[in-house]
């Protein structure tokens, strides 16, 4: 039996937190898993806190709220501080270290620091740090198959934004190799 994933993405509104979650959810769907995607955000569209719970499971999902993630992607400092201690032992935490200057001293989880925002800027992929982080999450946890992740990209990038497909693929690749 493969593992269930309870993934939490958290950052500011506008960082692509919900979109990363949507990609993960669709990837799970294409792997024939049960999935839920649950956003949580304040009244403001941009600048407020935004987080997104994604459950990927072989069995029907009860609570869609991820309280204790086994995979956590931190996109800003407040989210890192708020959720770092909630990651279950043995879980994985992906940290955008160009946004988050702090370190976590837990030894019971796999902590991966990626300078995602810096890498995005350097590679002319402004605004795709969330996808770089998702690539890293994929590499570290294997929450889905590579095929399904690409299918999810094809699904989630609307036809009028088709020109963004290749940059997104590139961002995923950079994340995998970072």
């Amino acid at each position: 039996m493969s593992k269930d994933f309870n993934i939490l993405f958290a950052g500011f509104g506008g960082q692509g937190v919900l979109f990363s979650g949507k990609l993960a959810a669709y990837a799970g769907l294409y792997d024939d898993k049960h999935i839920t995607w649950l956003p949580s955000y304040g009244p403001e569209m941009r600048g407020g806190t935004a987080n997104c719970s994604v459950c990927i499971s072989d069995t029907p999902i009860g609570s869609p709220c991820v309280v204790s993630p086994n995979a956590f992607v931190a996109l800003n400092l407040p989210s890192f501080e708020r959720f770092k201690d909630r990651v279950v032992p043995g879980g994985t935490m992906i940290v955008d270290s160009s946004m988050i200057p702090a370190k976590c001293d837990r030894t019971d989880i796999n902590i991966v620091y990626v300078e995602a925002s810096k890498l995005a800027t350097e590679n002319d992929l402004e605004g795709l740090s969330n996808i770089i982080l998702l690539g890293k999450l994929f590499k570290e946890t294997g929450f889905c198959t590579a095929e399904s992740l690409d299918k999810a990209l094809l699904k989630c990038i609307p036809p009028k934004r088709k020109h963004l497909l290749e940059p997104n693929r590139k961002a995923l690749k950079i994340g995998c190799e970072a």
């Binding site: 949507k22 769907l29 839920t36 995607w37 009860g62 609570s63 869609p64 309280v67």
Partner: protein, 353 residues
């Protein structure tokens, strides 16, 4: 379109209504239901339907009253404070025996409350969606697929019994995405409505839909007749779902979002060797009292889990005829209980029985 795809609850409700033959939507934006109205604004013109953003919730609900009175499938949607404004028109619909769909994607109350998920409109939905002696059908979906399925049921049963129907959802279900499979469009299967005010063309006597009856006898007779219909509904339309209740000592009763939390909590309790089960009402009115017939003898205790201060507890007590203790666990004001909080209650109650 693929067989299965992801949809937000709010959008799934809207698309399901279109698939069920609804071509008239009247609404007014409010968080956390706005995606439903936005989806309708986009979709209704594509299917030659009417999407109208009214000047207020009161106007929108009265437009539903008028449209549904002409026999078409009409609906409105809102969230808690907006539903309060619609209750006047819902009472008039009930008084005229007009079927229509009202969706409540609940948020925290009272007053303007908050914008986070809540189930604090249980009393309003099941006791008083307006003044006067009346009930409406109330369906409480727990998954996005069930939201889709129950929209069709709510329209069909509303038409069959000539009664307004409500989908009582909450901000969590409205905002979350899950895989859904949409039903086949069934617009052509809508039953005839010989009572509808849709123009008599000099071929039949004109129909009247009116709620004003100044003769107490006439009004009483009409209400008594209506309550006979309610009895038939109570007999035939109770719906619920059961999970691990056959050998359960402790039965958690929960609907909608809190039933999902409870489902996880029941699994955790079972892992600890506690015989817990989940009884999930799908209809809140009629409340599924039949589900408790054997359970009230076999189970040792009941826990009502809700995102309110315990509004469903009384219904559970009535259903178990107070033969077993009924306790409450939950959060309110926009907080969602965690599975661990529900588990703690199961353990606490389990220790007493």
């Amino acid at each position: 379109m693929e067989d299965k795809f992801l949809m937000k609850g709010n959008e799934a409700l809207a698309e399901a209504a279109i698939q069920a033959g609804c071509r008239h939507f009247f609404g007014y934006p409010i968080t956390p239901q706005t995606e439903l109205a936005a989806y309708m604004a986009k979709r209704m013109p594509q299917v030659d339907g009417t999407y109208l953003q009214a000047e207020s919730e009161i106007a929108a609900a009265n437009m539903v009253l008028g449209a549904a009175g002409s026999g078409v499938r009409a609906m409105t949607s809102s969230s808690s404070p907006g539903i309060s404004l619609k209750t006047e028109a819902i009472s008039y619909m009930a008084a005229c025996d007009i079927p229509a769909l009202i969706v409540n994607v609940q948020r925290g109350g009272p007053g303007l409350g908050g914008i986070q998920p809540s189930q604090a409109d249980y009393w309003q939905a099941t006791r008083a969606t307006g003044h006067g002696d009346f009930q409406i059908l109330v369906y409480a979906p727990a998954t996005i697929q069930e939201m889709v399925d129950l929209v069709g049921v709510a329209f069909d049963k509303g038409d069959q019994y000539r009664i307004p129907a409500m989908i009582l959802a909450d901000g969590m279900l409205g905002q979350m995405m899950e895989p859904v499979k949409l039903p086949e469009a069934k617009a052509n299967k809508i039953i005839d409505k010989p009572w509808a005010c849709c123009g008599h063309h000099n071929k039949r006597p004109h129909n009247i839909l009116n709620s004003l009856l100044l003769s107490p006898k006439e009004l009483e007779d009409l209400i008594v007749q209506r309550y006979k219909r309610y009895d038939i509904i109570k007999e035939n339309e109770q719906k619920w779902d059961e999970y691990l209740i056959d050998d359960a000592d402790i039965v958690v009763v929960a609907y909608g979002a809190s039933s999902r939390i409870s489902h996880t909590a029941v699994d955790m309790a079972r892992e600890k060797g506690i015989k817990a089960g989940l009884l999930r009402p799908i209809t809140l009115w009629p409340f599924p009292v039949k589900a408790f017939e054997t359970l009230k003898e076999t189970a040792k205790a009941f826990i009502s889990c809700e995102m309110s201060m315990g509004q469903m507890v009384d219904d559970v007590k009535l259903a178990v005829e107070c033969k077993k203790p009924v306790s409450f666990v939950g959060r309110t004001g926009g907080k969602i209980p965690t599975p661990n909080e529900v588990l703690d209650k199961i353990i606490e109650v389990g220790g007493c029985c």
